[in-house]
């Protein structure tokens, strides 16, 4: 996790906000550093994490996680992390007998696809089974990323329904949190992507949008991060509907944030 980002978001592993949907969005740049941040953040906060990883392999996230101070292997072994490795299990779907339900079973369907098996997988992973589960703090669902589902032929409405049911279960019933990454292709013709992004924006409590610089690649400033709070939570009334913009530079083990135009390389 990146301590500077924690300061900007006013959170820490000791005080985790519950029942929120955080939308990560990237436009013109790679926003996966935010996924790594939240993964290590919630693992350090002692939350039970269900990670639906559709983009990279387990070892990739593990290597980056170790740089950030968490070991995904040991988290998985002690039951804190439930990891769905999309790249590996998608092959299982094809080779498996059709009758057995699989979270990525929509890959076999000829039609638009229904993500109910994936929702059932998440629900089973995060619902507390016995009193031993109470050792973990609130449950967290992390998805990297939802745009891959659109690319695999699932409709935007089906993905919205999946997140809807996850919100109902994870956020409302279990008082947990959801963090999901969506790509903003910026393509005006990609209606499905727009419907997904706009639909999720209306449901999110916190939106983090990583954008590439309008002027192109820069060695010292890798992009711009816009933070938008949408949750009207009375205790922290000052935060309501607040929007902040920072620029950032990704380093080997951390990300540094600074106000626009205030990069250390420029000053």
């Amino acid at each position: 996790m990146f301590p500077e980002l924690n300061n900007l978001l006013n959170t820490s592993p000791d005080s985790v906000e519950q029942g929120t949907l955080t939308l990560l969005c990237d436009a013109g740049t790679d926003g996966s550093f935010l996924v790594h941040h939240f993964l290590s953040f919630y693992l350090k906060a002692n939350c039970k994490v269900c990670f639906v990883a559709l983009v990279q392999s387990f070892s990739h996230y593990n290597v980056v996680g170790q740089k950030l101070g968490v070991s995904l292997t040991s988290a998985r072994e002690r039951g804190q992390l439930v990891f769905l490795e999309g790249l590996k299990s998608s092959v299982d779907v094809v080779l498996r007998a059709e009758a057995e339900p699989h979270p990525l079973g929509f890959l076999r369907e000829a039609g638009a696809g229904n993500l109910q098996p994936l929702y059932e997988f998440v629900r089973e992973a995060l619902e507390p089974v016995d009193c031993r589960e109470a050792a973990w703090r609130s449950p967290v669902l992390l998805v990297d990323d939802l745009s891959v589902l659109l690319g695999l032929g699932v409709g935007a409405v089906a993905v919205l329904d999946f997140i809807h049911y996850c919100r109902a279960t994870v956020c409302c019933s279990l008082q947990g949190s959801i963090v999901a990454l969506v790509h903003d292709s910026g393509d005006a013709e990609d209606e499905e992507s727009d419907v997904l992004l706009n639909g999720l924006s209306h449901q999110s409590h916190l939106i983090l949008r990583a954008e590439g610089l309008a002027t192109g690649f820069c060695r010292d400033v890798h992009g711009q991060l816009r933070i938008l709070w949408r949750r009207p939570s009375p205790p922290t009334a000052a935060r309501r509907d607040r929007s902040l913009t920072f620029q950032y530079k990704i380093q080997d083990k951390s990300v540094s944030f600074f106000a626009r135009g205030m990069s250390p390389a420029v000053l």
């Binding site: 049911y165 109902a168 409302c172 209606e191 706009n198 639909g199 009207p232 009334a237 309501r240 509907d241």
Partner: protein
């Protein structure tokens, strides 16, 4: 609506009941009837707790509801319904909902049913948006930010011209609305009689006007690519007795003098 004692039914699809009721005081919450379609709208849990027929079933059940006093049905949200049901079904159901009072042969007293629907404009194409707009008697379009927001209101009264109004407001911490003013109704822009129109050609450092001689020279100029009758004659007469143009070709050592067409695509 609550102050006037109306009954309010909320069809909640987008947020949980707790989140919806958050911020309302207890008197409002007690008057609000919440139909929870958030937990299991598509009946995935199959526990039997889901409302029968899903959102459409609940809406249709409301069509046949008759109760004392005026009723307001708030749909949160219309976008959710439009994404999951065909546009025609939604429009027909909305029409049936709001026209309950005009059923023929019904001896029960006429109740006014107001239907309030929230629509996220950027999720839908112009077709469904236009259809719903035509169905609605009043349309409120919100834009701006929390501190400086505007509501453009379009009223359509029967047999009258539609009227537009724009209200400026900001949202307070207790969800109250602080009205900041109303823009005047749309009117034709009229020129201000006090300030005379400014002639931009005065006070220039270069000459924009042509003298008479210059005008004549300009008018008699023939443009190089303009097809006039003289040019037409010149082109037509060219073929008669005029020498055709020659092409002199010196082949290199490596040139292929094969007259055949290797791609076989010339239509000679």
């Amino acid at each position: 609506m609550f102050l006037s004692g109306e009954q309010v039914h909320v069809l909640g699809c987008e947020v949980s009941e707790e989140e919806f009721r958050e911020g309302f005081d207890s008197s409002i919450n007690s008057q609000l009837v919440y139909h929870d379609l958030f937990r299991d709208p598509l009946n995935w849990s199959k526990t039997g707790e889901a409302l029968p027929g899903g959102p459409l079933g609940v809406l249709r059940a409301m069509c046949s509801r008759t109760g004392p006093g005026p009723v307001t049905i708030a749909l949160d949200s219309l976008s959710w319904l439009l994404l999951h049901l065909p546009c025609t079904t939604v429009c027909q159901t909305l029409h049936a909902l709001s026209h309950q009072d005009s059923r023929p042969g019904d001896s029960s007293p006429v109740e006014h049913v107001h239907v309030l629907g929230l629509l996220h404009g950027e999720l839908h194409g112009p077709g469904p948006m236009g259809t719903l707009s035509a169905l609605a008697r009043t349309e409120v379009t919100l834009s701006g930010t929390r501190s400086q927001a505007s509501a453009h209101i379009l009223y359509r009264r029967p047999q009258q011209r539609p009227t537009h109004e724009t209200h400026w407001f900001s949202i307070l911490s207790d969800f109250g609305v602080d009205l900041q003013g109303v823009s005047p109704l749309k009117s034709q822009p009229h020129p201000d009689p006090l300030t005379p129109p400014v002639d931009p050609t005065t006070h220039l450092t270069f000459n924009l006007h042509l003298s008479k001689k210059e005008k004549e020279a300009k008018d008699s100029l023939t443009l190089p690519f303009q097809f006039s009758s003289e040019k037409q004659q010149a082109l037509l007469c060219r073929g008669l007795g005029q020498a055709t143009s020659h092409i002199f070709y010196e082949p290199d050592a490596y040139d292929d003098l094969d007259q055949e067409d290797p791609d076989d695509d010339l239509d000679i």
